[in-house]
């Protein structure tokens, strides 16, 4: 193993941060023994019940799908219980990374160079740069920001978006006096998506930095946590990746608020539980994490998988694989239990959540290739398997229900007391596995007030927890159907496109999208209910909670995607809503300020960046300055002239995204467009440009301030 860069810190063992094998083995033996025991007991009870009159093929099949489902249930159950135990035990967890820092460490100046990188792809420019501003200011407030640099790594392929990012970057640097500290890089070709974007950064600038903090476009991290992460890495040269727990924030729909509430309440014990048994072989979740760059560059480049997408090709869920590669190289991958300082945003609607899950599902299923590859740490294989199971389990649950329907249609009498007792114990055990973790975590909160000290808020948390159970119960069967579909789509070769994740609902509910997405689920629920009616009324009652959720999926999707989120009544309150951290408060204040800016007609707003680069002499100058000089161009000059002419005479709406991008990549074309537009007579211009020329100067007192708040530093 080559010497890690972080080893300069004096008197620290090279393996510091890698949990001792003895502890890891003991913990895993304990954990998986309990999981295994629970699974075996469940399978055995199920077998006793099913085999009363001999096992038919359908009963064997039912038992077969039951085992992995029960295993998964046990993993969740024991993870939560170990987490609650760790959080409440008098002695702190000896593996807790926070314990590696002492009071003196916090006094030491940080000398390690760290790059904070934020890959973006057609994201809301204002949100990205205001988020970055908040992180930057928070870091400045620590007095330790000298060795941190920020990089916005853009893969945006929409021309307007690209220009807006450039102007926002320049204005942010100007306002914060941060030229030389905040950098912007736009890739010409988006090879290998996000992981390719980060790899490109590593190849160009990786050697300048000891650490890299990876953020998502919606990430928010406090300066205090960022500096602590660097200190932990300095103190523990044996660690390759430290992953924080990003809490969801800023939700404004019911779904978003329920998710962020659930994450705030149940997340910390689950994180503690995961840390208990994952030890030095934890997972990387792709963002809000710090990586040791030298081994990352040396060992974590991703090879393509065999076969074509969706099952093979470029690795989508790159983070799991990077974690496994880092561990394979001998470095620990650790979870850092955090309750403050690391944040992200979640999908606002059920449809957005499903779109995200579709990508994740395909990415996780791809890991099937890797499970049996040579050289992994056994826990890395377990992590891959759990990732796969998180989606495949939906399909297994679906099969389970289908088989249960069949068995209900062809019943065999259960009369033996032993079989009936087994059934009853199994039902009780399953209910315990599902509800006990939640109950224990809730009791822990009510007693300790970990989230909220005021009693009223603890009681509201209790009620909110009951309500979120209703919401999740209604959503779970719908998610099962969709996840099952996603698994099948992946297996039959239907790939997903790389699309921008929506973080906020723009305007009201999109009813047509909801109807189009969930109508088939409703029909399936109705058909299944009709079948159940004919098969067995008793069975119908048993399965009715699931079928009811399917039948009302359209209403549920509309309800959870709406803005009525219970905030007025105090439900689903999170600590970040009740007492926002400074980093969040700063961002929210600035986002509010932006809402008051002068709006141009919608057509101009839609192409604002394009309008700016063509009309504004400064924005045009900025864009041309940032374009890389190239001796040759990818397309012919006559092609650029033709689409340039079309842009002027017919307007941007007549050009495709590709054509606009081609124009924006050529320095001469961009320079000439500026003069050609201003030189053209009114009758030669498309209506878009006539209006734009008249209205552009009214929109903003500064061409660069359209997307950012005006917060000049004194």
């Amino acid at each position: 193993m080559s010497a890690p860069i972080g080893s300069q810190t004096a008197n620290i063992a090279m393996t510091a941060g890698m949990p001792p094998k003895r502890i890891s083995r003991t913990r895993r033996a304990t954990f998986f023994s309990l999981v295994g025991l629970g699974t075996i007991v469940g399978a055995w009870l199920s077998f006793i019940f099913l085999s009363e009159n001999g096992m038919r093929i359908a009963e064997w099949a039912l038992l077969l799908v039951f085992i992995p489902l029960y295993y998964q249930l046990n993993v969740g159950f024991w993870t939560a219980l170990f987490g609650v135990w760790l959080m409440n035990r008098p002695k702190p967890d000896p593996l807790n990374l926070w314990l590696t820092l002492n009071a003196e460490d916090y006094e030491q100046p940080i000398t390690a160079s760290t790059a904070i990188v934020m890959p973006v792809f057609n994201e809301d420019v204002t949100r990205v740069f205001e988020g970055l501003r908040s992180i930057y200011l928070s870091l400045e407030a620590t007095g330790q920001s000298k060795n941190f640099d920020f990089f916005i790594l853009s893969d945006s392929d929409k021309a307007s978006q690209w220009i807006e990012e450039e102007t926002a970057w320049l204005e942010l640097c100007r306002q914060l006096n941060a030229f030389g500290r905040i950098f912007y890089r736009k890739r010409r070709k988006q090879i290998n998506r996000k992981s390719g974007n980060v790899s490109d950064f590593c190849r160009r600038w990786g050697r300048r930095y000891r650490y890299m903090v990876v953020l998502d476009a919606d990430s928010l991290m406090s300066g205090a946590l960022l500096t602590s992460m660097v200190r932990i890495m300095e103190k523990n040269p044996g660690i390759g990746i430290v992953q924080t727990f990003p809490k969801q924030i800023a939700a404004d729909t019911l779904l978003g608020r329920v998710m962020q509430f659930a994450q705030a309440l149940y997340g910390p014990p689950f994180m503690a539980g995961l840390d208990y048994w994952q030890c030095g072989e934890a997972n990387f979740w792709g963002h809000n994490a710090i990586l040791r760059l030298a081994p990352f560059i040396e060992h974590c480049a991703l090879p393509p998988l065999p076969a074509n997408a969706p099952f093979g090709g470029h690795i989508l869920s790159h983070d799991f694989v990077e974690a496994a590669l880092m561990r394979k190289a001998g470095y620990a991958v650790r979870l850092l239990p955090t309750t403050r300082g690391s944040y992200e945003e979640g999908p606002p609607t059920l449809v957005d959540m499903l779109k995200r899950d579709r990508r994740w599902c395909q990415g996780n299923i791809q890991h099937l290739w890797l499970v049996f590859a040579k050289g992994w740490h056994p826990m890395s294989r377990v992590n891959f398997l759990h990732g796969i199971l998180s989606y495949v389990s939906s399909l297994l649950w679906f099969f389970f229900l289908v088989l249960a329907t069949y068995l209900a249609a062809t019943p065999t009498a259960h009369q033996q007391p032993q079989a009936i007792l087994a059934e009853q114990i199994l039902l009780g055990l399953t209910a315990m596995l599902i509800f006990l973790p939640k109950t224990v975590i809730l009791l822990d909160e009510v007693i300790t007030g970990r989230l909220f000290k005021p009693l009223k808020l603890r009681l509201l948390t209790f009620v909110s927890s009951l309500l979120d159970t209703v919401v999740f119960t209604l959503m779970a069967p719908v998610l099962m159907i969709f996840h099952s579909r996603f698994v099948i789509y992946t297996l039959i070769g239907r790939s997903v496109n790389w699309v921008t994740q929506r973080r906020k609902i723009d305007g009201g509910l999109n009813w047509s999208e909801i109807l189009f997405t969930f109508a088939s689920v409703t029909l399936l629920g109705l058909a299944w209910a009709a079948l159940g009616w004919f098969v067995s009324r008793e069975f119908l009652i048993w399965i009715s909670p699931i079928l009811f959720s399917l039948v009302v999926s359209i209403l549920v999707a509309a309800l959870v995607s709406g803005a009525r989120s219970g905030r007025r009544l105090g439900f689903f309150l999170t600590p970040e809503e009740y007492d926002p951290p400074t980093v969040l408060k700063t961002m929210q204040q600035n986002l509010e300020e932006i809402k008051d800016r002068v709006q141009l007609p919608p057509e101009l707003e839609r192409h604002y960046g394009l309008m700016q680069v063509c009309l504004d002499p400064y924005v045009n100058g900025l864009h041309v300055s940032l374009l890389r000089r190239r001796r040759t161009i990818d397309v012919s000059r006559s092609y650029l002239d033709e689409i340039g002419h079309r842009l002027i005479t017919q307007g941007p709406q007549t050009l495709s995204a590709q054509e606009l991008k081609a124009l924006m990549h050529d320095t001469d074309t961009v320079t000439n467009l500026h003069y050609r537009l201003w030189s053209a007579a009114d009758h030669e211009l498309a209506a878009f440009w006539s209006i734009a020329i008249r209205q552009y100067n009214l929109a903003s007192t500064s061409p660069f301030a359209h997307t950012l708040a005006k917060q000049e530093l004194e």
């Binding site: 060992h299 076969a307 040579k374």
Partner: protein
């Protein structure tokens, strides 16, 4: 401030066309964020005067086109003086210069000296020169080469199968149909 004393009597072009050129120039100079109206008017009239001379020589182009071209030439000359020590192409000169003027705070601090070659404050020229920005630090290139992962025997077989199925969509869907209908047939036989 210099007296505004410009004779403007174009020999060619219609009044309507020159008015359109005036309006366009006014918008153009406003896009430079020049809020000093007197300086803006000076610039417009000076540019129009030059445009009128150019239009007399080439009346096939509109006064607006001539006016913007003259404004561009004036800008190039002005920037050429400021950045004379830097070896920049014309496109680079214009882009860098415009951006430099903005970043130096030119529109607010020195609006009266914009495009004024003869009266150029040293601090303005220096501020514009030092405002050159780059979007990234110097590169320190590293190799980040993926290493092959030995996926073992199962993936080899699977890849071969997927590859074959991928090349023959009819075969792929046939396999799918066979599986689906086998399951349905089996279920039917059970119920029957």
């Amino acid at each position: 401030m210099e007296a505004v004393n410009i004779q403007f009597a174009p020999a060619t072009g219609t009044e309507e066309a020159w008015n359109e050129a005036y309006a366009r120039l006014a918008d153009y100079f406003r896009s430079y964020q020049l809020h000093n109206r007197i300086r803006r008017t000076q610039l417009i009239l000076e540019t129009l005067r030059k445009a009128a001379e150019a239009h007399a020589k080439d009346p096939t182009r509109t006064p607006t086109a001539h006016a913007i071209e003259q404004a561009r030439l004036m800008l190039r000359e002005w920037l050429g003086t400021i950045y004379s020590d830097l070896n920049l192409s014309e496109a680079q000169l214009e882009a860098t210069g415009r951006l430099g003027f903005h970043l130096a705070g030119g529109p607010a601090r020195w609006p009266q000296f914009f495009l004024d070659e003869k009266n150029m404050p040293d601090d303005m020229a220096e501020a514009m020169r030092s405002a050159l920005r780059t979007s990234g630090p110097g590169m320190q290139v590293s190799k980040m080469t993926p290493r092959d992962i030995d996926l073992g025997l199962i993936p080899d077989v699977a890849e071969d199968t997927f590859g074959r199925l991928g090349r023959h969509p009819i075969l792929r869907y046939s396999v799918l149909f066979v599986i689906v209908f086998s399951v349905l047939g089996y279920l039917y036989s059970l119920f029957a």
